[in-house]
Symmetry: C2
Subunit: 210 residues, 2 copies
DNA sequence: TAGCAAATACCTAAAACAGGGTATTTTTAG
DNA sequence: CTAAAAATACCCTGTTTTAGGTATTTGCTA
C-alpha cells in the first residue's frame, strides 16, 4: 500500500498538558505527524534550524516573548513556514495583530479539535483560516468605528498623565505652555466623557492607549 | 479477571481542545474513566445532579463564574466531591484562594500529564496535592510580607476613588465626614508611595484591590 | 486657495486635592 | 484589662485641577 503524505508538524505551547493533549489528539489523524515540540519561543527557533517542519502550530502567549515578536522573527527566518495560532483570546485587536504578523490561521482553544485540524489542512493548502467564532468577532469589530477619537498629541498627553506628571511637568517636557496642556486635557476629558483623571485612565485602558 | 476499580471523573474546561486532549490523555490510565464533561460551571452543576462522579477536574477560569464562586457552590452542594483545579496562573494569591475554597489539588497547565495524574491519584486517596512548581510559588510568597498594608476601610475608599467619586461623594456614601475621607486618602497616598490618584490606581492594580 | 482640524495659548473662578499637623473614639489582639 | 491599630474628625495652607470661555497659528486637503 502507498505511504500517505504526512505533514511534519511542530507544536509550541508552554502548557505541557495542552501540548500532550494535542499531540495525542493529532495522533489519530493520518496526514499529520508531530515531529517537534517546544515550550517557548527560544526552543522553537532552535529546533526549527535543524528539524524540517511543514507546519507550525503555536500557542498565542509564550512565556519568553511577545506574540508578535515571535511571529515576526519566524517570518524573517522561515518565511515559507505556515503557522496556525492557537489562542484563548477573542479580542479583535489581538486576532488582527496575529494575522497581520504572518500567521495563516487563528483558532481558539475553546474551539473543537475538528476546527484545529480543519485549520491545519486549510493552511497546508496555502489558504488562510479562522474559525467561525473568530470570523464573527472580526466582523463585529469592523462595525463599531473604533479607535479613540483622540488626536496624536492628546494621546501623547494621556500617556504622560498616566505617568503621574502634572500639567506643569508635561508642559515642560513637551516644550509647550501649561495653558496648552490644560486645553488638551480639557479636550481629552470631553472626548473621554471623564470627570477626573481616573476616568481618563479607564478610557485609556479601554482604548489601549497605554 | 477482576475488574479494576475505575474512578469516575468529570472534566470541566471551556477550552474544548484542552478538554479533548485531557480526555484522550486519561484514556490510557487504567483507573480513570471520564464520565462527564462540561464547558462551564452551570453545565457542570447540572450534570453533577444526575451523574455520579468520584472526582472533578476543573479549569481555574470558567466563562460564567468567578473561580471561587464555583468552588464554594460545589462545597455546599457536593461537600464530599474532591476537586483538582487545573490552572495557568501561578500567582500565590490565586493558588491560596483556590485551596482555601475547597479544592484538594492545584496543578498548572504547564505541568506534565504525569503531574495531573499524580494529583488525581493523591486526591482519591484523600490527600491534598500541589505540583512542585506550585509548592515553590507558595513558599516564595510566604517569604515576603505581602498583602498591601492598606486597611479594610482604606481599600474600600480606594475602590470608590477608582469609581471616580470625589471626597465629598465618598464621605456622603460612607456616612463619614469629608475630613475623615481626606485622612484616609492621605494615609493611602503615604502607604502607596503615590503623589496623585494615578499612582494610587497603579498601586491598587498591582495589589489587585480593584 | 478656502476651509477645517489640530495644536497652540490665554483668561477666570470655583472646586478639589495634597500635605502638614493633632486628637478622640472604637476595635482588635495579647 | 491594656496597648496598639484603625477609624473617625478637624485645622490650615498652598497647589492643582476642572470647567467655562476665546483666539491665533499651522498644516493638510478638497
Amino acid at each position: 500500500m502507498s505511504e500517505p503524505k504526512r505533514w511534519r508538524v511542530m507544536l509550541v505551547d508552554d502548557h505541557r498538558i495542552l501540548l500532550d493533549g494535542i499531540k495525542t489528539l493529532l495522533g489519530s489523524e493520518p496526514d499529520m505527524e508531530i515531529v517537534a515540540e517546544a515550550g517557548d519561543a527560544r526552543m522553537a527557533m532552535q529546533l526549527l534550524t535543524y528539524v524540517h517542519v511543514d507546519l507550525l502550530v503555536s500557542d498565542f502567549s509564550l512565556p519568553d516573548t511577545r506574540h508578535t515578536d515571535f511571529l515576526n522573527e519566524l517570518k524573517v527566518k522561515f518565511p515559507n513556514l505556515p503557522i496556525v495560532v492557537l489562542s484563548m483570546h477573542d479580542e479583535p485587536e489581538i486576532i488582527r495583530d496575529v494575522l497581520n504578523s504572518g500567521a495563516k490561521a487563528y483558532v481558539m482553544k475553546s474551539n473543537s479539535r475538528e476546527e484545529l485540524v480543519k485549520a491545519m489542512r486549510h493552511v497546508m493548502l496555502g489558504e488562510t483560516y479562522v474559525s467561525p467564532e473568530v470570523a464573527l468577532k472580526l466582523m463585529q469589530a469592523t462595525q463599531k468605528t473604533n479607535s479613540s477619537a483622540l488626536t496624536e498629541r492628546e494621546i501623547e498627553i494621556v500617556k504622560l498623565i498616566a505617568k503621574e506628571y502634572s500639567n506643569k511637568q508635561i508642559a515642560d517636557m513637551l516644550f509647550i505652555s501649561e495653558r496648552t496642556v490644560e486645553s488638551h486635557r480639557k479636550n481629552i476629558f470631553r472626548k473621554a466623557g471623564a470627570h477626573s483623571v481616573v476616568g481618563v485612565m479607564k478610557y485609556a485602558l479601554e482604548h489601549k492607549l497605554l
